[in-house]
C-alpha cells in the first residue's frame, strides 16, 4: 500500500493513499468538526456528501478551502485546520444553518441530543448575524415517524440510510435552491410512500427534523385511569441500551433496574417480550419443521425458504416490494403481537379483567412497532392487542418525568406468568439471533437429541449477508441471514429468481438487528456503542439457566392450559397473521 506523507497543523504524518484529511487528522489527535459526515465502522455505513462544509480546512496552494471529509491526502500536502480563514468560514456556515432553523430548542424533541445544537455550542456561537426568511414546510405525522423538515439541514444522512442501506427509497432531496429539502417524492407524506418505518432515518438525523411519534402522554393518561389495568412488555434489546440514557456505559445490562422503574411508574404487571419470543420460536420452529418435512416428502408446494417475520420493518418492506412472495414468510406474528394476543385473552381471563379494561404497553427498540400495533388485523372489535408502543428513548423520558432515581434503583424481577424467558429469546435482539433460537429448538424437536453446544457460532457475525449449513443429524439445513434491507433485497431477489437454496432465512430491517433499531438511544455515529450492546445481549443469554425456548416452563404451561399444541387451531387464531400487497406502480425515467 502506497503511503503518503503530509503535515496537518505542523504535525508530519504518513497515511495510506486514499485516506481523507479528516481521517488522517484523527490519527494525530486532531478532531476536525463535522456535521453531515457520519460513519459507522465495520457496518459499511458512511455518509459523506461533503455538503455541510463545516469541516473545511486550509490546504497550502489550493484556491479555496477543502472539505476534510471528502478530500483525499496528496503527497506533501500542508493542511491547517484552525486558521482565521477556516474558523471564520466554519462559524459563518453554522450561523447560516441556524439562520434557516426554527429557534425552538427549548421545546424540541431533539434538544440535548442535537448535533447542530452541540456544534453551535462548541463554536461558541452567541449571535446569528444573518436574519431572513426561513424555509417552512408542511409537518408530516405517520403512525411511527414525525417529519418536521423546517429543521432539516440537508445533511442527507436519512436519505443515505433510506436509499443505500435500506433501499426503501422513501426519502430523497427534492426542490431546488433555498427550498431544497429531504422528503418523499411528489409531496407525498410518509404514510403514502413506501416507508417501512424502520426508523433508521430517525436514528441518524442530527436535528429534530425526524423524530418518533411520542406516546408517553397517552401511556401516562392510561396509567392515571383507575378503570384500566395497565401492563407492560419490554423487548430484548431495550435492557442492553436503556442505561445509556442515564449515563451508563454502552452495553450495561439494566434489566433489573428497568423492571423496578416500570413498577414505580405504575404498571400493574411488568412482563417480558422475551416470553413471547419463546412463544414465537415454538410457532415458527414448528412451522419450519412442518414445511421442511413436506419438502423432504417431496411435496411440490412446500413453501421454502421460510422467512422470519418478527421484524415489522421487514414485513412492511416485503409487502411493498415483494408482493409475489407473500406466501413464504412464516405466518407467525411478531413477539410484540403474540404477547398482546395472549395478554388480552389468556392473561385477561387469568386475572379476571375484561379485554377493554386491559391496556398493553410495549417498550421497543423500534419505531415500526408503533405502526405494527395499529394494524387492523391485530385488533379485536377495534380494540388493539397492543395499545401503545414506546421506544427505548421514550421509556427513558418517562422514567425521568416520573422522578425516579434510576441509577439507585434495586434490581427487581419480571412478574409471572408472562415474564419468564430463556436465553434463546434474549438473542432476538442481535442479527442471527432469531434463527439461532429457532435452531436450538428445531434441532431438539427434529432429532430428539440434546444439543451439545448451545451457541451456533456460525450464525453470528456482522456481515450483511451470512449463510451457514447446519447438520440436523444427517439433514443439512441451509440457513441465510440478512440484516439491513438492502441485503434482504439481495436475498429476496435470489429467491424470486429461483436461485436460492436456503431452507430458512432470518431478516432484520436494521443493520445489526434490534440493538441498532430506530427507537434506541442515539448512537451519534459511534459504532462502538452498537458493538457493546451486541455483546451485552450475548452475555445475558449466557447468564440464563434456561436457554432453549421449548424449555420455558411457562410456555409449556401455556400450551398445556390454553393453546393446545404449536401451530394448532388456537395458535392459528391468536398467533398467526396474513400479509397484504402494498406495492405501487413503479415510476420509470424516460430516456431516448
Amino acid at each position: 500500500m502506497e503511503m503518503i506523507e503530509l503535515s496537518i497543523d505542523n504535525k508530519v504524518l504518513r497515511v495510506k493513499k486514499g485516506t481523507t484529511i479528516l481521517k488522517a487528522a484523527r490519527k494525530v489527535g486532531i478532531e476536525i468538526p463535522t456535521l453531515c459526515h457520519m460513519e459507522l465502522h465495520n457496518m459499511n455505513i458512511e455518509n459523506k456528501p461533503g455538503s455541510c462544509r463545516v469541516c473545511v480546512v486550509e490546504v497550502d496552494g489550493r484556491r479555496n478551502l477543502a472539505p476534510a471529509c471528502i478530500t483525499e491526502v496528496t503527497p506533501g500536502m500542508v493542511v491547517n485546520t484552525h486558521t482565521v480563514r477556516v474558523l471564520n468560514a466554519r462559524k459563518t456556515i453554522v450561523e447560516l444553518l441556524i439562520s434557516d432553523h426554527p429557534y425552538d430548542c427549548l421545546v424540541c424533541a431533539k434538544s440535548g441530543n442535537c448535533d447542530l445544537q452541540s456544534i453551535a455550542h462548541k463554536f461558541g456561537i452567541r449571535r446569528v448575524h444573518f436574519k431572513g426568511e426561513k424555509s417552512t414546510y408542511q409537518k408530516d405525522t405517520s403512525p411511527s415517524i414525525i417529519r418536521d423538515v423546517d429543521k432539516c439541514i440537508m445533511c442527507r444522512r436519512c436519505e443515505m440510510m433510506c436509499n443505500e442501506v435500506q433501499t426503501v427509497g422513501a426519502l430523497s432531496a427534492v426542490n431546488r435552491g433555498f427550498i431544497s429539502v429531504v422528503a418523499p417524492a411528489f409531496e407525498m407524506n410518509l404514510e403514502q410512500s413506501s416507508c417501512t418505518y424502520c426508523g433508521q432515518c430517525v436514528s441518524v438525523c442530527p436535528t429534530g427534523a425526524l423524530t418518533e411519534v411520542d406516546s408517553t402522554n397517552k401511556v401516562l393518561l392510561a396509567l392515571m385511569d383507575k378503570s384500566k389495568t395497565v401492563i407492560v412488555q419490554t423487548a430484548p434489546s431495550v435492557r442492553a441500551a436503556l442505561g445509556e440514557e442515564f449515563g451508563l456505559p454502552a452495553g450495561t445490562l439494566v434489566t433489573g433496574k428497568m423492571v423496578a422503574a416500570l413498577r414505580r411508574i405504575g404498571f400493574k404487571y411488568v412482563f417480558d417480550t422475551d416470553f413471547a419470543a419463546d412463544l414465537t420460536i415454538m410457532e415458527e420452529g414448528t412451522e419450519l419443521l412442518g414445511r421442511l418435512k413436506a419438502h423432504l416428502a417431496g411435496e411440490s408446494n412446500a413453501k421454502l425458504p421460510i422467512l422470519t417475520s418478527c421484524c415489522p420493518g421487514w414485513v412492511n418492506f416485503m409487502e411493498h416490494n415483494f408482493p409475489d412472495l407473500l406466501h413464504i414468510p412464516s405466518t407467525a406474528k411478531s413477539p410484540q403481537q403474540m404477547f398482546g394476543a395472549i395478554a388480552k385473552t389468556y392473561f385477561a381471563d387469568l386475572i379476571g379483567v375484561k379485554r377493554q379494561d386491559l391496556v398493553v404497553v410495549s417498550v421497543m427498540p423500534c419505531l415500526a412497532k408503533k405502526y405494527e400495533c395499529q394494524r387492523d388485523e391485530f385488533k379485536v372489535d377495534g380494540n388493539p392487542d397492543v395499545d401503545f408502543s414506546m421506544s427505548t428513548r421514550e421509556l427513558a423520558d418517562l422514567i425521568k418525568q416520573s422522578n425516579i432515581d434510576f441509577l439507585n434503583l434495586p434490581d427487581e424481577d419480571f412478574d409471572t406468568p408472562l415474564g419468564e424467558s430463556t436465553g434463546a429469546s434474549v438473542i432476538f435482539g442481535n442479527t442471527g439471533g432469531v434463527i439461532e433460537a429457532a435452531c436450538r429448538t428445531a434441532y431438539e424437536l427434529y432429532t430428539g437429541k440434546k444439543l451439545d453446544v448451545i451457541e451456533f457460532e456460525s450464525l453470528r457475525g456482522k456481515e450483511g449477508i451470512r449463510s451457514a449449513k447446519l447438520d440436523f443429524d444427517g439433514l443439512t439445513l441451509n440457513i441465510g441471514i440478512a440484516h439491513g434491507l438492502s441485503n434482504a433485497r439481495k436475498l429476496l431477489d435470489d429467491v424470486r429468481a429461483g436461485k436460492s437454496d436456503y431452507h430458512a432465512i432470518e431478516i432484520m430491517a436494521c443493520v445489526g438487528g434490534c440493538i441498532a433499531g430506530g427507537g434506541q438511544p442515539y448512537h451519534h455515529g459511534d459504532s462502538k456503542i452498537l458493538r457493546q450492546r451486541r455483546n451485552a445481549i450475548y452475555r445475558e443469554d449466557k447468564n440464563k439457566t434456561i436457554r432453549k425456548s421449548h424449555e420455558n416452563p411457562y410456555i409449556v404451561k401455556l400450551y398445556k392450559d390454553f393453546l393446545g399444541q404449536p401451530c394448532g387451531q388456537k395458535s392459528h387464531e391468536l398467533l398467526h397473521t396474513v400479509y397484504y400487497d402494498k406495492s405501487r406502480e413503479e415510476i420509470t425515467i424516460h430516456h431516448d
Partner: protein, 499 residues
C-alpha cells in the same frame, strides 16, 4: 444590405454553417464538408495523433472553465475501462444565451461528427447528448440528424468501413441550471438528482455509470471538425496567446443589434459593443457589460479596450462562462443587477451545500434590503464577507462563482451601493422605493390625463387645477409621465415621503 453579422469583425467557425444549410437534410451538410474530418481521422490518424492535433490547436472548453480540450481527451483516453462515454453538454442555462441551441438547430451534424471523433480518440463507442427538454426544435433536428447519419453509415456500426462503432443517444434535462456542471449533469443522466459531487474523481476517470466519460460543450464540439480539416496551425493563428480561435457571444441588453456574434478571441469589448453591436440604444451612456452569465461579473468603461480572452476576463473580475453578454446603460441600477443574478442563483442552486443554499439567499436578502432603502453600512461589509466565504467554501463551480455579481458590482460601483444605503437614492431611477413622482404645479394644466390613466388612483385634483400624486399609493409604473403632454411630471430621486 449589410447586416451586422456580415461585418468583417466577425469570424464564424462554430457557427460556420448556421443558416447556410437545411439542417434536416444531411446531404446539404455533406456538401459543406460534414464528416470529412471524421473520415480523415479514421483513415489517417491514430487516436493519439488526433489528440495531439487538438493539443497543438490550443482549443479550450467553451462551456466556461476553459480547460484545454486536447488534454481532457487525453486523460479520458488513458483511463482504462471496458466502456467509456462521450457526453455533449447541451444544457444551456444562462439567461439570454442561445448559442448552443443555434448550433444544434442550425448545424447538428457538426456536433455529431465531433462526438464520433472524440469517441474514436478516447475509445468510446457510445455518445450521449444531454439536452434540456425546453429545446424541442433542437431535439427534433438532432433526432433527424442522428437517424440520417445512421442511414448513411456515418454513425453506428463500422463507420466508413473503419471498424469503428459509435452511436449517439439523447438524454433530456429538466432545465436545471446546475446540470450544466458536469458531475451534476452525469447524475441527472443516471436518473439521479442533478447535483454536483466533489472532484476528484473527475468524469474522465469515473463519470457516467462510473465509467470514464468525456464531457464537452456544444460549441467546443462545433470547433473540432474545422481544426482537423484546416490544421492546428490555422486555428492557433487566431486569437490571443493563451486563448485560441473564436468565441460565440449572445449579445443582449441595451444595445442596438442584439443576437449571436462570433469573434476571434482578443476582440475588445469596444469593438463588440460599438462596431458589431451598433452602440447603445437611444445613444445613452454605456455603463457596464455583464459577461459569463449569472456567475460572471460586470465590466465597466475601463475594461472597454481589454482584449477578451479567458485570462483577461478573470483578471477583470468576470469570466468567459458560456458567452452571455448583457449590455447595460445609465438607466440600469447595478445593485438591482446584482440582485437579479442572485435571485436566479437562489432559485437554481441545487441546495446541496450550505453556503450556496442558505448563503446566497442571505446575500439576496441583503441586496433586497438595500434596494428598498433599508440598508445600513454594515450590510456592505456583510455582503463582502459572506460573498468571500461562499466563494471559499461552496462545493461546485456554480456556488464558488455565485457571489461574482456582488464582488464585481461592489468593486466597480461602490458609489451606487453607498448612495442606496446612505443617501437612500437610486441614481438610475430603478429602485421603486427610492424615488417618487411629483407634479410641477406651474406646468400642470389640470387636464386629468394622468388621473385617468393611473391604475391605482394615486392622483387627485380638480379639473383645470394642478394635480397631486400620493406617493404612498403610487406604484411607480411610469404611466403618468408617459401620458402627460406638458412635461409636468418628473421623477424625484429621493426616498418616498411617508405621510
Amino acid at each position: 444590405m449589410e447586416t451586422p453579422v456580415n461585418k468583417p469583425k466577425q469570424l464564424r467557425i462554430a457557427l460556420r454553417n448556421c443558416g447556410m444549410l437545411d439542417p434536416e437534410n444531411i446531404a446539404e451538410s455533406i456538401v459543406r464538408d460534414a464528416y470529412q474530418a471524421l473520415g480523415k481521422v479514421l483513415k489517417e490518424y491514430s487516436p493519439q495523433e488526433c489528440i495531439n492535433i487538438l493539443k497543438q490547436s490550443g482549443l479550450r472548453g467553451r462551456g466556461g472553465a476553459g480547460f484545454p480540450t486536447g488534454l481532457k481527451w487525453e486523460i479520458a483516453s488513458k483511463s482504462k475501462s471496458d466502456q467509456k462515454y462521450v457526453v455533449c453538454n447541451a444544457d444551456e442555462g444562462d439567461p439570454g444565451a442561445f448559442m448552443d441551441r443555434s448550433i444544434l438547430e442550425g448545424d447538428p451534424h457538426s456536433v455529431l461528427e465531433a462526438m464520433a471523433i472524440c469517441g474514436y480518440c478516447i475509445g468510446a463507442d457510445k455518445g450521449l447528448i444531454y439536452i434540456r427538454a425546453e429545446y424541442p426544435l433542437a431535439i427534433k433536428r438532432l433526432k433527424i440528424a442522428i437517424s440520417q447519419a445512421m442511414e448513411w453509415g456515418l454513425l453506428g456500426k463500422n463507420i466508413l468501413g473503419s471498424g469503428f462503432n459509435f452511436e449517439i443517444k439523447l438524454c433530456y434535462g429538466a432545465g436545471a441550471f446546475v446540470c450544466g456542471e458536469e458531475t451534476a449533469l452525469i447524475h441527472s443522466m443516471e436518473g439521479k438528482r442533478g447535483e454536483p459531487t466533489n472532484k476528484p474523481p473527475f468524469p474522465a476517470t469515473s463519470g457516467f455509470m462510473k465509467k470514464p466519460t468525456n464531457v464537452n460543450n456544444v460549441e467546443t464540439f462545433a470547433n473540432i471538425a474545422p481544426i482537423i480539416l484546416k490544421g492546428p496551425e490555422w486555428f492557433s493563428s487566431i486569437g490571443t496567446k493563451n486563448s485560441k480561435g473564436t468565441k460565440v457571444f449572445a449579445l443582449a441588453g441595451k444595445i442596438n443589434h442584439v443576437g449571436l456574434i462570433e469573434v476571434p478571441m482578443g476582440t475588445s469589448l469596444r469593438e463588440i459593443i460599438y462596431e458589431i453591436g451598433g452602440g447603445i440604444k437611444e445613444n445613452k451612456k454605456f455603463k457596464a457589460v455583464q459577461t459569463g452569465g449569472p456567475s460572471g461579473g460586470c465590466l465597466t468603461e475601463k475594461h472597454l479596450d481589454t482584449p477578451i480572452d479567458y485570462e483577461n476576463l478573470i483578471a477583470a473580475g468576470s469570466m468567459m462562462g458560456s458567452g452571455g453578454m448583457i449590455v447595460m446603460d445609465e438607466n440600469d441600477c447595478m445593485v438591482s443587477v446584482a440582485k437579479f443574478y442572485l435571485d436566479f442563483i437562489v432559485g437554481e442552486s441545487c441546495g446541496k451545500c450550505t453556503p450556496c443554499r442558505v448563503g446566497n439567499k442571505r446575500l439576496y436578502e441583503i441586496l433586497e434590503r438595500i434596494t428598498q432603502g433599508k440598508g445600513v453600512m454594515k450590510d456592505l461589509d456583510k455582503l463582502k464577507n459572506l460573498s468571500y466565504i461562499i466563494k471559499d467554501t461552496a462545493l461546485c463551480g456554480l456556488g464558488q462563482t455565485s457571489p461574482n455579481p456582488v464582488f464585481s458590482t461592489l468593486e466597480n460601483f461602490y458609489d451606487e451601493y453607498y448612495e442606496h444605503v446612505v443617501e437612500k437614492k437610486c441614481r438610475a431611477g430603478h429602485c421603486k422605493n427610492l424615488f417618487h413622482y411629483v407634479i410641477n404645479e406651474e406646468l400642470c394644466v389640470g387636464c386629468a390625463a394622468c388621473k385617468r390613466c393611473c391604475p391605482v388612483h394615486a392622483i387627485t385634483g380638480e379639473k383645470r387645477k394642478p394635480h397631486y400624486i400620493d406617493s404612498n399609493i403610487c406604484i411607480r409604473c411610469n404611466e403618468c409621465i408617459e401620458k402627460c403632454s406638458f412635461d409636468a411630471i418628473s421623477i424625484q430621486l429621493e426616498p418616498k415621503i411617508l405621510v
